[in-house]
Symmetry: C2
Subunit: 333 residues, 2 copies
């Protein structure tokens, strides 16, 4: 029997997660019961949302229990099956945890993917949760119209890079915000955004003034904090802020920071609205099809940052928060 | 010639407006030019929005210039006219300033009112700007559905009292928040809200838990600050926060306070949206008609707090911020 390398949540992190918040184990690989199948995971997605799942208490889904395998979305191959709907050799995507083998009955949204249509890592990036988040949060909450000025935080990241390209496809002027000249170059030169603000070196408020002379119609917020406040000071009338995440706030140990200038919403008749991707699961198929079409036409680029080895999990996770990554972060098992 | 007692803005207030921020003058009463008419003001409305108008800089309308008559909405009677559309004896409502006589060409939204349909003070309360604010901010931004739990801040005030009664008419459970047991008694016993929380004596967060067991679907925000944060912690999924005002923040000299828990919007897929009543001016007529109907049927109560004498302006204005008033505050000239 092979073993099943896996990472469990050992303690609820305070601030940034650290090595001691997780425990590594290598039990025997599990065997499927009746109506179940075993998936060998090939790639495990590392997402900012995981930080929220480590907390106790009700959020949009329950937190991970202490001692349980850490929750994660993976893509892999069926290697044993007692399930009529999934056969050995099928490739699947879904929540299967930070482990090399997962036994599942297919519930909770395990879906088949086609490795001939796109390489497996794409099913964790542009055709996976980040891509779905980009697509639905931009189009349904942000509601960009041609000619709108769209500001994209974390513009080089897995979600922002896709959302910004979709905004360009819809005829918007798109201004990215990213950390460092290298990422900004990627955002403008490869992704084709109209401009990119380097929040590590530029004065974000000043740069927004320069790049958004008619104000900001749509802000896609992945970060919260000071950047959210700077954007709020430049809203156009009727602006929409799509609250998709707030990575600057996830590891806070103090009370988080709210936008002190939120009354800009009143003055500008603007809207700020929260978004959870799982609400749109019934429409994933249609979105994936449209995005695969854009990819085939070369209109939608994506980049994956693949860290080798499941043993790297705690260190790799920290790259999410330091920004030290290029594109969608994942582990290769 | 009669004189024209009037109050001008002498300085931009820092924090609460004080007597020295205004100057009193008694020039000769003005005479109308070609295409103009003179209105003798009977009642001058005192509104929280006036605090914003005293600031420099762009808001939804320009601030009042230093040395200009302080902007205010009034109701009065035409006493001289060279205007084809307005005759001596007509009663009108509109922006005419803190003064006994105003000359106008009727632009900027001066409209006729019918003193036989309702007493003149009602045209500054339920049939005026506060009533329009209540009607459109609740129905268009808050979008309450029958069975929703609606929380109304400043529930005994000119806007909140009307908005809460409209929410009741639409079949909602309505929980008011007001300052002191007397106001709370008015809110439940006279206005017919389901409950009222006394923010001066109750623990608002605890009381919201008790009175909104299924969470809050609509929050009508007139106040901002701590109450906004307490409400944000109790949002139901898909909640709407209508940002109509933030009286707790208007006199701040420090940076205002943003809702630290705004990520509750994300978790609850909730929306926070700003509102400016002037955007709905084309629909005022229809709203006034519907509200006058409710008043005639005894389903819509309103209370006016009338301070005698235009000389009382600076002191009367402060009652807006201390909460020391009962219903819509106005001056009788």
């Amino acid at each position: 029997m092979p073993t099943n390398p896996q990472w469990k949540l050992a303690a609820r992190p305070v601030g940034l997660p650290k090595r001691a918040d997780f425990s590594y184990d290598e039990p025997e690989a599990p065997t499927p019961g009746d109506g179940e199948f075993t998936v060998k995971t090939h790639y495990i997605s590392l997402d900012p949302a995981m930080r929220g799942w480590m907390n106790a208490g009700k959020s949009y889904i329950p937190g991970v229990e202490i001692g349980a395998v850490m929750r994660a979305i993976s893509v892999g191959e069926v290697v044993a099956s007692n399930h009529d709907g999934f056969a050995v050799g099928d490739h699947v995507q879904g929540v299967m945890g930070v482990q090399a083998y997962a036994v599942t009955d297919g519930s909770g949204g395990i879906t088949k993917v086609d490795p001939k249509l796109a390489p497996l890592p794409k099913y964790l990036s542009v055709l996976g949760m980040p891509g779905m988040t980009a697509y639905f949060c931009l189009l349904r909450v942000g509601q960009p119209k041609a000619g709108d000025t769209v500001v994209m935080s974390a513009a080089a990241g897995a979600v922002g890079s896709v959302a910004g390209q979709i905004a360009k496809l819809k005829g918007c002027r798109v201004v990215g915000i990213a950390g460092g000249p290298e990422k900004c170059k990627y955002v403008t030169d490869t992704l084709g955004f109209d401009a990119c603000i380097d929040y590590k070196n530029d004065d974000v408020a000043e740069a927004l003034k320069t790049h958004c002379p008619k104000g900001i119609d749509v802000y896609f917020d992945n970060v919260g904090g000071e950047i959210l406040e700077a954007v709020m000071s430049r809203l156009a009338q009727g602006a929409r802020i799509a609250v998709c995440g707030a990575i600057s706030q996830y590891n806070n140990t103090d009370a988080p920071r709210g936008p002190a200038n939120y009354l800009s919403l009143l003055v500008n008749r603007a809207r700020m609205e929260g978004f959870v991707v799982f609400d749109w699961v019934r429409e994933y198929g249609q979105a994936a099809q449209e995005m695969a079409g854009w990819m085939a036409q070369g209109k939608l680029q994506s980049q994956e940052d693949i860290v080798e080895g499941i043993d790297q999990f705690p260190d790799a996770l920290l790259k999410l928060f330091s920004g030290d990554k290029h594109g969608k972060l994942m582990l290769k098992v």
